[in-house]
């Protein structure tokens, strides 16, 4: 298990579940989130180990890097980009502000943070993990910008992996729908999906940890999701055609 870990988006959902798993195992665990520490009831969140920064702001990656520097963290075995945001609805109705924020948080922030922390990762021969989504691999009529940022993140990870081969490992993990607050936050209308049917964050986080330990450069979490990704990749023509017909009927 990695010695020094930095995890973004650790206050909710899959991130919080990952933090709970690593809390007992990592030598040093630094958590990032947007919420004030007073809101976080768990002993997991301490002033020394919790960095509060809003990744929608351009300064955030520099603030996170400074937080590490001030605490003498000079090597990183594992950097996990888990923080993410999204918008559910018609592309024409997503405001420019929301488009910018989604691109900022899901794509630019992890890229810039990776850039700033590469020396620390290199010092440890460490690993960067990008938490993507199965949305990156299929058409998402109501999540178009979100899916685009995740596909872009995977494209970045792929080329970076080739560039850094032998120095720093680069991995992508792709969860599918998970039982978290993300759906409500992004504006999925209540009743549209049954969140209770999705696997709990704790289970998904456990599988993500196993995927990271497996060394595979890309892992889709869950058998059903693996099938969806394979269909999105290999059956694009019939799948997209069927989705278009469904959309026209709706």
């Amino acid at each position: 298990m990695a010695a020094t870990i930095l995890l973004t988006g650790a206050t909710d959902g899959i991130g919080l579940a990952l933090a709970r798993i690593w809390a007992g195992r990592a030598e040093r665990l630094v958590l990032h989130g947007r919420r004030p520490i007073e809101e976080m009831g768990e002993a997991l969140f301490t002033p020394e180990g919790y960095c509060r920064a809003d990744l929608a702001r351009a300064e955030a990656p520099a603030e996170v890097a400074r937080f590490l520097e001030e605490r003498g963290v000079d090597r990183l075995d594992l950097l996990v980009h888990n923080a993410g945001t999204g918008y559910f609805g018609d592309t024409a109705e997503q405001a420019g502000r929301s488009i910018r924020e989604t691109v900022r948080v899901n794509l630019e922030a992890p890229i810039e943070l990776t850039h700033r922390l590469l020396p620390l990762l290199r010092a440890a021969g460490g690993r960067v993990v990008f938490v993507s989504s199965i949305a990156a691999t299929m058409p998402c009529a109501e999540y178009a910008v979100y899916a685009a940022t995740k596909a872009a993140l995977e494209g970045f990870a792929r080329s970076l992996r080739i560039e850094l081969a032998g120095e720093v490992d680069v991995q992508v993990v792709r969860p599918g729908a998970t039982r978290t607050g993300m759906h409500a936050k992004t504006g999925v209308p209540p009743g549209r999906i049954d969140v209770e049917r999705f696997p709990p964050a704790q289970k998904v986080a456990g599988e993500i940890v196993r995927a990271i330990d497996s060394n595979r450069s890309r892992t889709t979490i869950g058998l059903g999701n693996k099938l969806l990704v394979a269909a999105g990749r290999n059956l694009a023509v019939p799948l997209d055609g069927a989705l278009r017909r469904k959309e026209r009927r709706a």
Binding site: A148, E163, G166
Partner: protein, 258 residues
């Protein structure tokens, strides 16, 4: 008269497309950051045209361009062609040029498309064209942020091809490989051959025909189709080839020391 919008219309593939569509009888509305080159292209067009000068990396300019465009009649074809690259090992690159790459190649098309759709400025039965890159299939070490932007654009186009189906708007994604443009010349490893690159005029004709045939995917040319197929069935082989052909030849490649 049919109307088209072409971003990055002053040079390269965008210029070739503007000329091609003008010859085909379109009113061409170009967008570009380079006013002088834009005026030069406009003077070569055979029909009427208009130009919006905007730096698509700037939030303010994108908003201004969008405000200008939604005041015009709807466009039959909208071509998101504008793109830049910043080549070099990511570890050694400056962040600012990488931000510009993502802003122009990905964020601007997302913002402009949303504004045009909101104002119903893409005609019913019209076409939306996104110029992605062959890197979608083979990766692009030495241009990780460019690869990111083009993958994002391809994903967005695929989602819209579904969500816009009820409005009758057709979406085409183009995956050009090496093209004989000034842009490609600037970003290729020293000594690479020009002859194998597709002339932009040829690409422009292929794009026009693909839109007319309402195709959804265009990988222009047999060599590019072969590379894309290789990338699909044997991604690791394609990645190794890209590393050898591009990344290892870059002046800034090799393990960085910090």
């Amino acid at each position: 008269m049919k109307r088209c919008l072409v971003t990055g219309a002053a040079a390269g593939i965008g210029r070739a497309l503007a000329l091609e569509l003008s010859r085909a009888g379109f009113f061409v509305h170009g967008v570009d950051v380079d006013a002088a080159a834009g005026a030069a292209t406009a003077s070569e067009l055979e029909g009427p045209s208009d130009f919006t000068i905007a730096d698509l990396a700037s939030d303010g300019d994108v908003a201004r361009a969008a405000a200008e465009l939604v005041e015009r009649p709807p466009f039959d074809w909208v071509v998101h062609n504008a793109g830049i690259n910043a080549v070099g090992a990511f570890a050694r690159s400056e962040l600012e040029p990488q931000r510009r790459v993502m802003a122009i190649n990905l964020l601007a098309p997302l913002l402009l498309t949303a504004e045009l759709l909101r104002a119903e400025r893409i005609a019913r039965g019209g076409s939306l064209v996104f110029v992605s890159s062959l890197s979608r299939f083979v990766g692009y070490p030495g241009a990780a942020c460019y690869a990111a932007s083009k993958d994002g654009l391809a994903s967005y186009a695929r989602s819209l091809s579904v969500s816009l189906a009820p409005r009758g708007i057709h979406v085409l994604t183009v995956y050009p490989g090496p093209t004989r443009t000034e842009h490609a010349r600037r970003h290729s490893p020293p000594g690479s051959s020009e002859a194998k690159r597709m002339p932009p005029e040829e690409l422009a004709v292929r794009i026009r025909r693909a839109v007319e045939a309402r195709k959804r995917v265009l990988i222009p040319g047999a060599a590019n189709r072969f590379s894309a197929a290789l990338g699909h069935v044997a991604p690791r082989v394609a990645e190794r080839a890209m590393k050898k052909l591009i990344f290892d030849k870059l002046p800034s490649a090799g393990p960085a020391t910090s």
